[in-house]
């Protein structure tokens, strides 16, 4: 292996980061309405949301990509591999984030809800001003953990033609016939990407904890 071999890996890295970031963003945003539906007072809505979450999580990601890329892409509108991967992984992330949010919201002391109701803050303000900021801190470590997992999950996008890090690694290993070294390098890249996430989440958690502690 030589320096030139790094170039495709770095190019793959860019796709991995874009896909991870995009899917996580979709998940983090879509997770909110999904959670709202999951907690709805109307049981059909609640039941539907629960079913969606369970099914999305139960089916392997590769199948989602196939369904979206080939199924949806063929029958509804053409869609490029990257967008299909983004949609599929975003969907999965949304289901998982909704569950992470649910745990975080459940951990908020019920006195906070009561105080908000007594102050007539309304649903939206209660969510935005009271619940979300406190739940955010609780959700942070799990969300960071999930983000790291998601980053590795993006490797499935290579099956439908997104030349991300795992694809480049696989390619390089076949061209050089050197499985172990290449995978060591790819693994190192993933770890290097995950460390700042892990570190940031630990720092942010510590900071937020310190802010509300004595």
């Amino acid at each position: 292996m030589n320096a030139a071999d790094f170039v495709p890996l770095l190019r793959g890295l860019v796709w991995t980061v874009a896909l991870t970031g995009g899917a996580f963003l979709i998940g983090a945003v879509l997770g909110v309405p999904l959670l709202a539906a999951r907690q709805s007072r109307l049981w059909p809505v609640r039941f539907l949301a629960m079913t969606v979450i369970q099914i999305v999580r139960a089916i392997p990601p590769i199948l989602w990509l196939f369904i979206i890329f080939f199924g949806l892409g063929m029958s509804v509108m053409p869609i490029n591999p990257f967008n299909a991967a983004l949609m599929g992984l975003g969907l999965i992330a949304a289901a998982n984030m909704a569950e992470i949010y649910r745990g975080a919201v459940a951990s908020i002391h019920h006195g906070q809800w009561e105080a908000s109701a007594a102050l007539d803050l309304g649903r939206w303000s209660t969510f935005r001003d009271i619940v979300a900021p406190q739940a955010f801190r609780v959700a942070l470590p799990s969300a960071a953990s999930y983000l790291i997992g998601l980053m590795k999950e993006t490797a499935v996008a290579s099956t439908i033609g997104v030349a991300e890090l795992a694809y480049q690694g696989n390619q390089l290993s076949q061209l050089t016939f050197r499985g172990l070294e290449v995978f060591a390098l790819v693994g190192l890249f993933y770890v290097l990407l995950s460390l700042p996430i892990a570190w940031l989440s630990r720092v942010a958690d510590g900071y937020l904890r310190a802010k509300v502690a004595r």
Binding site: A4, V7, P8, F66, F69, F70, G73, M74, P78, P81, S158, T159, I160, G161, A163, Y167, N170, Q171, S173, Q174, L175, T176, F177, R178, G179, L180
Partner: protein, 252 residues
């Protein structure tokens, strides 16, 4: 630029040959600059050139490659796809490009199927001999997703013998990846049909693309006649004999 296509046919994207490229060295891969390469890749590129088409290569997984063509998002896929009767039910298969023989990789230099008995044997998913070997060897056959993984296990000693495409082995040996492992073409044996007649590699394309298929087959026949395929095979370090495919046939 003046260019007259030899045939009239349509492709998925007008003026472009869209190819789903699996990563399968030396048959098929996409290089650093995004060009389709490998034996299959070079042949497909030559076809595109002769028909005045630009090439759009998409690197994908084998499962997705087939789906790409089935769902009308690629014209063909490359990757040492063998012509079999079963596959022909789902997709059209082009005229044979070259033959790929079953290779036996071992330190001892085994040539015969009978040498595999009682050994730990590894092979790669997707080859024609997999079913026969499985029937013959049962639990002592290990299946791998690609050659690299298998070769690693061969060198670590987890398997004693590997069975893989002969051409793949030749190229790996040239790159020095096999060490003291020798690669031989398997001698014909009744228990493994693939040893008796070499498999023919082809380009799968959509069943509905009739005119496209005619043009593709014609181009392949021309390339056999004018020595293009031999040249391509030699450029990957193989001897030209693999280009002598004989008549098209479908393995049952």
């Amino acid at each position: 630029e003046d260019c007259t296509p030899k045939h009239q046919f349509s492709t998925i994207e007008a003026g472009t040959l869209t190819v789903a490229v699996t990563t399968f060295v030396p048959h098929s891969f996409v290089d650093d600059s995004g060009n389709m390469k490998g034996i299959d890749g070079d042949i497909a590129a030559e076809f595109a050139k002769r028909e005045c088409l630009k090439v759009k290569a998409i690197a994908v997984d084998p499962a997705a490659a087939i789906q790409y063509v089935l769902s009308g998002q690629a014209d063909i896929t490359t990757g040492d796809w063998y012509r079999t009767a079963e596959r022909a039910k789902v997709m059209s298969l082009s005229a044979p490009l070259y033959t790929d023989q079953m290779g036996i990789y071992s330190k001892e230099g085994f040539k015969n199927v009978s040498d595999l008995e009682g050994k730990q044997v590894g092979t790669v998913q997707g080859y024609l001999w997999v079913a026969d070997l499985k029937a013959m060897l049962g639990g002592s056959l290990k299946l791998y997703p690609n050659s690299v993984n298998m070769q690693q296990d061969l060198s670590s000693g987890r398997i004693d013998v590997a069975v893989d495409g002969y051409s793949t082995g030749v190229v790996a040996a040239q790159k020095g990846a096999l060490g003291d492992v020798k690669v031989n073409v398997a001698a014909p044996d009744d228990r493994v049909k693939a040893t008796k007649e070499a498999a023919q590699a082809a380009f799968p394309y959509a069943l509905s693309a009739k005119e496209f298929g005619v043009a593709l087959d014609a181009a392949i026949t021309d390339m056999h006649a004018d020595g293009t395929i031999v040249t391509i095979l030699k450029s990957y370090g193989l001897d030209g004999t693999a280009a002598e495919t004989g008549a098209p046939r479908l393995v049952e």
